[in-house]
């Protein structure tokens, strides 16, 4: 199995999720659990930092899709930050930029939450 790691952090009211390695069908459940946990604690202002994310499959993308509606209905959002070129391409092909706000720097993503 490919390597995958998740770590979390806080920037005041905003939850930070750091994805590292491979996000595919095998590792997606872990990511799911993390988001589930955050939503359960009503922490719905989420920034996902993908700087160390090397690969994402449709299963991984599916996790985003699975939570976005719920998060938004609770007044929150999932924003993406620091995507690598390759990973961005995957998101772009699918048309994710229409759905998700994507930032080059994590700080910008966090800041966006404060503005809204």
């Amino acid at each position: 199995m490919e390597h995958f790691e998740i770590s979390t952090g806080d920037a005041h009211a905003v939850s930070l999720v750091y994805l590292k390695g491979y996000l595919d069908a095998h590792t997606a459940p872990e990511f799911e659990k993390t988001l589930q946990d955050l939503v359960g604690r009503e922490k719905v202002s989420i920034v996902v930092n993908c700087s160390s994310l090397t690969y994402i499959s449709s299963a991984g993308l599916g996790v985003f899709m699975g939570f976005i509606e719920d998060v938004r209905s609770r007044g929150g959002d999932i924003k993406l930050a620091e995507l690598t070129e390759k990973v961005f391409r995957v998101f772009d092909l699918l048309g994710f930029p229409v759905l998700f706000e994507i930032f080059e720097r994590e700080a910008d993503a966090v800041a966006k939450f404060k503005k809204t």
Binding site: A25, S57, S58, A59, G62, M65, G95, V98
Partner: protein
């Protein structure tokens, strides 16, 4: 055997006839009688041979055979006793028979006894042959020959009971053959292995009843042959010979039984143990499921060590659980409480061998003195893989188990461990096979979604290929001729994997077929697909797709891309990626989806090719974990000389194969190529 006896008899007869006639070397009285006797002897031999050839007692079990033997012996003895030869055959208290009738009666009884004797011989043969060695057959033949020689001697000796041998070394020879007969009978008497198959009760009964019959027989044995002394000397000698054999064999058998009586109980127990082991082996073969086997283990162990209660504890998560209990009928013991059992288990697992507690009330470890009495036997049930559980046996009296039980119990527990492991392995294997079978079925279903044959489109050359990965993927493509002159080309990829993906694809294929008849714009069709998908409950599932509608007559192709990989256009030796805007299907509501979906129009020129693919291709990895990538694909396509769609696809497939080397695929690789046939001059021949 037959040839032996026939041959021998003939040789003997010829020899004596010759000797008598030519050399008068042997003094033989009563020539006519001799001939008659020799003929009778030959007849008896023939009869014996025929009788032994037929399997009279095949279906009779050992004990019945013994009873039959006993009855026969008893019968002949009774007859002899009831009709005493010495007293003119007159049973006690009856009047004397008439002289003529007497001779007849005597001969008749004699013939009856002769027949009985032949069957006695057959029965003894049965017993002897119960455990055959290579020598058994020959030894018995020797016995029969000795019987025959005995008859021969008596015939030659006549009334003197000796044979006078004249010539240089003259002497009177006694009946050596009788001695030979006795000796061989003694050797035969050792062949009584059948005694071991009798249980203690049978041994006792047969010994006492048999001895009584035997003694009775011995008292009558001298009279037995005499019934035939006036009828035929051969027959009489045959009877006496058989009497000798019977007496020797029975005597030795009874002595042997007597010697084996003290150990009879032990033998019985050993037999029970062996039987238990046999049953366990059968159970191993019979049970393919764990539950019935587990229930049987204590039940089989119980009789082996004579326990009152037996139970099997199996490893369950971190601890042990009582899996099966067997209570001997009439027993009233209960499984001891967990404290007792865990204390015993700890000791067993620590020492890794069987323990025997002869007096539970004296055990200090964790057992209250007053609570328990009795003895406990426990063995680890373990294989090389590790501990599976513990087998316990208990009796309500102290010192209830013999020391030897430990070894036996352990051996049984080891067998049980192997059986249990085997059953578990079989169950796992079956589950795996079922899982593999399910995967295979889903895979087949997936394959059926793909076009079995490419439709022929005038002026175009289309081919597709799907190389599956080990898991079920969600790729699919289709080429659909619609009405006159319209051809729809689709390629799609369901997110996620597993059998579900294949089934979703089947559903979507059906939806497409319906939409095709109502819409003629790729944008409309994709919009409808998006709406359809939005209605599905699975929020995290989505679909990427490229939908193209080709008009072969005008060479115009319209297409739209819903989040899918870009379409390659190979024109004049260079490749460009066509990437009209569009989101994946099922992600956003209809209005947003439509507003972001771009439809493009393209007029194909002769020699143009369109290349559709799924991300399994660009994401294929080599051993260095590099991806094949869009750029490499572009370079490969551009670098390929003009060829048919099929050739193009296979070129790419081969290159990807080469690239990935032995790395197993984790996603399906799907390709579809559409080429405008180059203009050709039509040559009319």
């Amino acid at each position: 055997m037959k040839k032996w006896i026939y041959g021998f008899s003939t040789v003997l007869a010829v020899f004596f006839a010759y000797a008598f006639l030519k050399y008068r070397l042997i003094d033989i009285p009563f020539l006519a009688d001799q001939v008659k006797e020799w003929l009778i002897a030959a007849g008896l031999v023939f009869l014996t041979v025929r009788l032994t050839a037929r399997k009279w007692f095949e279906r009779v079990n050992l004990v019945r055979k013994l009873y039959l033997l006993g009855l026969l012996v008893l019968a002949v003895s009774l007859v002899t006793a009831v009709f005493p030869i010495s007293d003119g055959l007159r049973p006690h208290g009856t009047k004397a028979f008439q002289a003529a009738g007497l001779a007849f009666l005597r001969t008749m009884i004699g013939l009856g006894i002769l027949t009985a004797c032949l069957f006695l011989l057959l029965l003894i043969r049965e017993l002897v042959f119960i455990q055959q060695t290579r020598r058994t057959k020959n030894q018995f033949r020797l016995l029969l020959i000795a019987l025959l020689l005995n008859i021969g001697f008596v015939l030659l000796a006549g009334s003197e009971e000796k044979i006078r041998i004249t010539g240089p070394f003259a002497f009177d020879s006694p009946n050596v053959f009788l001695i030979l007969l006795v000796v061989i009978s003694v050797f035969t008497g050792f062949r009584n292995k059948w005694i071991h198959y009798l249980n203690k009760k049978s041994k006792l009964f047969i010994f006492f009843a048999g001895s009584a019959v035997f003694v009775f027989f011995l008292t009558q044995s001298s009279s037995l042959p005499q019934f035939l002394d006036q009828a035929s000397v051969s027959a009489e000698t045959a009877v006496s010979g058989i009497t000798v054999v019977t007496a020797v064999y029975l005597g030795m058998a009874l002595a042997s039984i007597l010697i084996h009586l003290p150990s009879a109980g032990l033998m019985d127990r050993k037999m029970r143990e062996v039987k238990s082991f046999q049953e366990l082996s059968l159970a191993l073969g019979a049970d393919l499921k764990e539950e019935p086997l587990v229930a049987k283990i204590p039940a089989l162990a119980s009789p082996m060590v004579d326990a009152e209660i037996t139970w099997l504890e199996l490893k369950d998560g971190g601890g042990f659980k009582v899996a099966a209990v067997y209570l001997r009928p009439g027993g009233s013991l209960d499984v001891p409480p967990e404290t007792v059992r865990s204390a015993c288990r700890e000791e067993i697992l620590g020492r890794k061998k069987t323990i025997l507690m002869n007096d539970l009330s004296k055990c200090a470890k964790g057992i209250s003195r007053t609570a328990f009495q009795g003895s406990l036997l426990a063995s680890p049930v373990a294989s090389q893989a590790g501990i599976l559980g513990v087998l316990f046996a208990m009796k309500s009296v102290p010192f209830g188990f013999v020391e030897e039980s430990q070894g036996l119990f352990q051996a049984f527990a080891n067998q049980a461990a192997i059986s249990l492991e085997n059953v578990r392995l079989v169950e796992m294997s079956v589950k795996q096979q079922t899982a593999e079978e399910e995967l295979r079925i889903a895979h087949e279903a997936q394959m059926r979604l793909l076009p079995q044959r490419m439709p022929v489109v005038r002026g175009f050359d289309i081919d597709g290929l799907c190389i599956t990965a080990n898991e079920i993927g969600g790729d699919f493509y289709d080429v659909i001729p619609v009405g006159t002159g319209r051809v729809d080309v689709v390629i799609g990829d369901v997110s996620g994997k597993g059998a579900a993906a294949a089934f979703y694809m089947a559903e979507f294929k059906g939806v497409i077929q319906t939409l095709v008849s109502h819409f003629d714009s790729p944008r409309e069709i994709l919009a409808e697909m998006n709406t359809f998908l939005r209605k599905q409950c699975d929020q995290d599932m989505f679909l990427t797709m490229v939908y193209a509608i080709l008009q072969p007559s005008t060479k115009v192709i319209r297409f739209a891309r819903a989040g899918h990989c870009p379409v390659g256009l190979l024109r004049g030796g260079s490749l460009s990626w066509l990437e009209p805007k569009g989101l994946g299907l099922g992600l956003v509501p209809e209005k947003l989806f439509k507003s972001r979906l771009e439809e493009r129009r393209l007029t194909l020129k002769s020699g143009d090719a369109l290349f559709f693919y799924t991300d399994g291709l660009t994401e294929a990895r080599n051993p260095a974990r590099e991806e094949f990538g869009e750029d490499r694909l572009a370079g490969l396509l551009a670098g390929t000389a003009p060829c048919t769609a099929s050739e193009l696809i296979h070129t790419v497939a081969d290159r990807v194969d080469e690239f990935t080397a032995n790395v197993p695929r984790h996603d399906d690789i799907t390709m579809l190529a559409l080429r405008t046939s180059p203009n050709r001059k039509v040559i009319k021949g």
